[in-house]
């Protein structure tokens, strides 16, 4: 019996899918797996696990948090970059924050919920405020200047809504009302600038719609190259970044040395030993593996208790 052409063609397709699945979907990955079992490759293929004091403490390639139970940084450890993987360095929830470069206005929390000690699920920090807050926190922790362009001293995005008639080029030359969008009444005492074009600046109120105003970020006079490095105030793409820049390690040296009761020079030497340069001199960026560095710290300068 001869099957119609149409049927024969689809039968061939079914057989092709099955045959190719066996070759490319079973034989090939298993062959790669087998090669991965060769000593020298096996450690990598398994996940680059590292041991400290006889127990596995994680993977060399997967970053982790060095914080206490409340999420506060442990002073005796170098801190990793901010992370958007789950609640931070959740290796089962890798990912990025995905907020855009002009995401600068916060959605403020309901003060009634805040008073009751609850979290407002609708509230959202803008990417700019995230950057400002991280910078302020890192600055305070490590005793350096945490100020940045477009950030208030209080650590939120310095953004105004300017109301009034717009001119031909889109600016508001004679504002009628000015609101600092990310500074909430009741949370902040006074706006980051008292006046704008002669008008007093108001604090933002929960639930008010400021969309009609022109959104104006204020650069301020913070240094263009802030003391807290860029990687310390931005989250990575994976949320599992195992590295920090040598600059970020640099500002943490004094604090770690103090917490461990050793001299900064000793800690700095250790950081230098764990600094990796660019691959082959030109791929990637110089960096420090945080877990490796902290393990080395524990081994060289153990903390009591």
């Amino acid at each position: 019996m001869r099957l119609p052409t149409w049927t024969r063609r689809h039968l061939a397709a079914v057989r092709a899918v099955l045959v190719l699945t066996v070759v490319l979907g079973l034989v090939y990955p298993l062959a790669v797996f087998a090669v991965g079992q060769i000593p020298g490759l096996k450690g990598n293929a398994d996940g680059s696990y590292v041991k400290a004091g006889g127990r596995t403490v994680g993977s060399d390639l997967i970053g982790q948090s060095f914080t206490d139970k409340d999420g506060k940084p442990l002073k005796q450890y170098f801190q990793s970059r901010p992370s958007n993987a789950g609640d931070g360095y959740d290796a089962m929830a890798s990912g990025a924050g995905n907020l855009g470069p002009e995401d600068i206005v916060d959605t403020l929390p309901d003060p009634a919920l805040a008073k009751a000690g609850k979290e407002d699920e609708n509230a959202r920090q803008s990417l700019l405020t995230q950057v400002c807050e991280r910078s302020k926190d890192a600055g305070e922790l490590d005793g350096v200047d945490g100020s940045r362009p477009f950030c208030t001293p209080g650590g939120v995005g310095a953004v105004l809504a300017v109301f009034g008639t717009r001119s031909a080029n889109g600016t508001v030359p004679h504002p009628t009302r000015v609101v600092s969008l990310n500074e909430q009444e009741g949370v902040v005492k006074a706006p980051f600038i008292a006046t704008y074009r002669g008008l007093p600046v108001q604090l933002a109120r929960f639930g008010q719609d400021y969309a009609k105003g022109l959104t104006v970020p204020i650069k301020g006079d913070a240094p263009a190259h802030p003391a807290v490095p860029t990687d310390a105030v931005t989250a990575s793409g994976s949320g599992l970044d195992p590295h920090i820049s040598p600059a970020y390690a640099g500002i943490q040296v004094n604090r770690v040395a103090q917490a461990r009761g050793v001299s900064p020079a000793q800690v700095r030497t250790l950081v230098g030993e764990h600094r990796s340069g660019r691959g082959a001199g030109f791929t990637g960026e110089p960096r420090v593996n945080v877990l490796e560095l902290n393990m080395a710290l524990d081994a060289a300068f153990p903390t009591r208790g």
């Binding site: 039968l11 490319l24 090669v35 990598n44 982790q64 089962m92 990025a96 995905n98 960026e285």
Partner: protein, 553 residues
């Protein structure tokens, strides 16, 4: 060494490496597709599939075979996801829900690898390696097969036949993709990628916290995801994940794998039509656009214009410390110029203009150098349009490679070009006009429009990267983007094969004094111009409302 100099060396060394591989790989692929002899393994495979390797197909039969194989692939992949809990290596994951399984099946079969799921918590190892990764191979092989069929249309004289799809599919998978993938996978393991079948590993971290660390057959899938310009990540974070892209040099290698076949196919094309210089001309068009585009992404990212990048002091949001801004920008350029869509950094948080360039790259139709196969056939269609435009200017019947470009041919070429803009712009409009479409937005304002425009651009061009803030795991987006991926892949393929069939039927037209030489810099410049002008006219209005409105104050 400064970041900029290192970034230039990084991109420059990639250009060099791709150039070095151009001849040997292109010649090898020429031998694979032109050879008469089947290896013993292949003869066995043909017997199992039930096809005769010597039987040539007309364009219509070739197209029907492509569609039959793809439909069966979609059904198979859909089923595999729906029953994964009943098979082994499922890690205890539930079946993927129907709309998401449909979206994922279409996505991987069309070489898009758009992902509305998060790998580490949705797909078991079996679905990843025997479902998704298999499609990474064969969807790439299908793209190459269609490109080779089109080239045969140019090369053959008075023929009804374009080759045999099953043979082209098998040879592309077994002789080209598989050996390179195997070597690449081993190299990637040496770089730190994982390849195991272990369940997620619970560890107590150095400071006493808990962390679960996943495993999986990652290296074998990562390599073909780049080599086949697929792009679907094993994990949610894609090639930003340290287990998918562990070292600074694996990042280099992954970009190389993305670019190497699409460029080398130009050599194969030149060999098949008997004029290597024609291959160099097409490769020249691709390289010109690619180099300009990657340079621009780098420039926009490094000068980091915009409020948040200035506040942060660099465009490092969504970027890994080991790669840095420049290498990430080069990856972003390569992945969107091809149909890959893998990401080693997150485009949603790029500077407005850097993000716009990634979108523009896809809107070029992914022809510089484009996906494996799809880049070559897309570029050849543009070359056909270019000789047509040139012919109009001097009032001659245009010809390309000795074939007349008549009304029939130009209709196919024009229809090919129109499909993706229709899908992208109508899809974006539909999303903006409906509540279900707007509900998925993470960012507001102009950036919100960019998120949607990016999604439909990516799906319709079979890229698969995303402005990942958009929530796409909804019935509406899974369905709409699934349809865009299917139409964006198969309708152009049918037009390409129809064009190939029509060209193959013609005899040769000997070149005369009036023939436009198609191997000179003049022609290269014209194709670049036609490509950019066509895309700019089509997409500038939409880009003006999204990234341009956001980036220019």
């Amino acid at each position: 060494m400064s970041t900029t100099v290192a970034g230039i060396l990084f991109a420059g060394s990639l250009v060099l490496a791709v150039a070095v591989a151009y001849r040997p790989l292109g010649d090898y692929m020429y031998r694979v597709y032109s050879g008469e002899k089947d290896s013993r393994v292949e003869r066995g495979l043909y017997r199992l599939i039930g096809v005769k390797s010597g039987a040539e197909q007309t364009w219509a039969t070739y197209a029907r075979s492509v569609l039959a194989f793809s439909v069966v692939s979609i059904l198979f992949l859909y089923l595999l996801q729906r029953v994964q809990d009943k098979l082994f290596l499922s890690l205890g994951f539930a079946p993927v829900k129907p709309d998401q399984a449909w979206n994922t099946a279409v996505s991987f079969v069309t070489n898009t690898n758009w992902q509305s799921y998060s790998g580490e918590t949705t797909m078991g190892y079996l679905v990843q390696m025997s479902g998704l990764a298999v499609q990474n191979f064969v969807s790439a092989a299908v793209g190459m097969a269609v490109a080779i069929a089109l080239v045969r249309g140019f090369a053959r004289r008075r023929s009804d036949h374009l080759g045999n799809f099953w043979v082209d599919l098998t040879r592309g998978s077994i002789r080209i993709l598989l050996p390179i993938a195997f070597v690449g996978a081993v190299l990637l393991i040496a770089g730190g990628l994982v390849q195991n079948f272990a369940d997620p590993h619970s560890v107590t971290t150095l400071v006493g916290g808990q962390q679960q660390i996943p495993g999986g057959p990652v290296a074998s899938q990562e390599v073909i995801k780049e080599l086949g310009t697929n792009g679907g990540g094993f994990y949610n974070a894609n090639a930003a994940h340290p287990f998918e892209n562990a070292a600074t040099w694996t990042n280099w290698l992954e970009i190389f794998l993305i670019l190497v076949i699409p460029f080398a196919l130009c050599r194969t094309f030149g060999r098949m039509v008997g004029q290597n210089r024609q291959g160099y001309a097409i490769a020249g068009v691709m390289a010109t656009i690619a180099i300009i585009s990657i340079t621009l992404v780098n420039v926009f990212q490094l000068i980091h214009h915009g409020t948040v990048p200035v506040a942060a002091g660099g465009a490092m949001e969504g970027v890994e410390a080991r790669f840095g801004v420049s290498n990430s920008a080069t990856f972003a350029g390569a992945t969107t110029l091809t149909s890959t869509g893998a990401v080693d950094s997150f485009h949603d948080s790029y500077t407005s203009l850097g993000g716009m360039m990634t979108m523009f790259n896809m809107q070029l139709g992914e022809v510089a150098p484009g996906g494996v196969g799809s880049g070559l056939y897309g570029m050849l269609v543009l070359a056909v349009i270019t000789v047509f435009v040139a012919g109009l200017m001097v009032g001659r019947t245009p010809e390309y490679l000795g074939k007349k470009i008549g009304p029939r041919e130009i209709k196919f070429a024009a229809s090919y070009f129109l499909i993706t803009p229709i899908l992208v712009l109508c899809g974006t409009a539909a999303a903006i006009a409906t509540t279900s479409g707007r509900d998925g937005l993470l960012n507001g304002g102009a950036h919100g429009l960019s998120e949607i425009l990016y999604a439909f651009t990516s799906a319709s061009n079979n890229n698969g990267s995303a402005f990942a803030g958009l929530t796409v795991n909804t019935v509406w987006y899974d369905t709409a983007l699934g349809l865009c991926m299917a139409f964006g892949r198969f309708v152009p393929i049918i037009f390409v094969l129809a064009l190939a069939g029509s060209l193959a039927k013609q005899g040769g037209t000997p070149a005369s004094e009036g023939t436009l030489p198609t191997h000179r810099p003049q022609f290269v410049g014209m194709v670049v111009g036609v490509t950019v002008v066509l895309v700019a006219l089509t997409f500038l209005p939409a880009l003006a409302l999204g990234p341009l409105a956001e980036g220019i104050h």
